[in-house]
Amino acid sequence: EAGVVQSPRYKIIEKKQPVAFWCNPISGHNTLYWYLQNLGQGPELLIRYENEEAVDDSQLPKDRFSAERLKGVDSTLKIQPAELGDSAVYLCASSTGGPTDTQYFGPGTRLTVL
């Protein structure tokens, strides 16, 4: 079974440029998460989707970050405009949902903002 797929794996951009990350969850997983992980730290949740609905986006900086999961499968996370402090790894995870399930993480996209 294929795992969570993310692309690109690495992205280098200049500040004030836009950037987008893509995630394809494990087949059949209705719940999708985006996390931000700073170097040497644990991941922090940005947004959680149940199918197409964003059920928890309280930690998403909405002035510059946006996300969508239009058909309840793939998802994109966008930053516009990027700032130096956005340099981090952006992780996507998926699960079948429910309080006892397991989240499976993708390899992440490492973003460097110059």
């Binding site: 969570v4 644990g42 991941p43 149940e50 059920v55 949902g97 006892t100 399930d101 499976y104 992440g108």
Partner: protein, 113 residues
């Protein structure tokens, strides 16, 4: 701001030595998970502990959940170079019908052959 503090932050030991990693919080969690993360990869779940005081063993790794469900420890016996990685604890709180993970600050372990 992360709810869980891990210690030590960095640990470098010789192959064959024992070590313990601590994960502490002032919050109560419904369960606690431990993950290991390799460079360039996402975290991979090692174990979930649910009951206060619970102890789980996974080969040379022993995980314990505190009685009050606020803290946990990971003990590795006879560490091997393959144990090298970033170890993350994650407290679980259930709301809106799903597991919400609150990750710790991480412990980077290096086992020297």
């Amino acid at each position: 701001t992360q709810l869980l503090e891990q210690s030590p932050q960095f640990l470098s030991i010789q192959e064959g030595e024992n070590l313990t990693v601590y994960c502490n919080s002032s919050s109560v969690f419904s369960s606690l998970q431990w993950y290991r993360q390799e460079p360039g990869e996402g975290p991979v779940l090692l174990v979930t502990v649910v009951t206060g005081g619970e102890v789980k063993k996974l080969k040379r790794l022993t995980f314990q959940f505190g009685d009050a469900r606020k803290d946990s420890s990971l003990h590795i016996t006879a560490a091997q170079p393959g144990d090298t990685g970033l170890y993350l604890c994650a407290g679980v709180k259930v709301w809106t019908g799903a597991n919400n993970l609150f990750f710790g600050t991480g412990t980077r372990l290096t086992v020297i052959p």
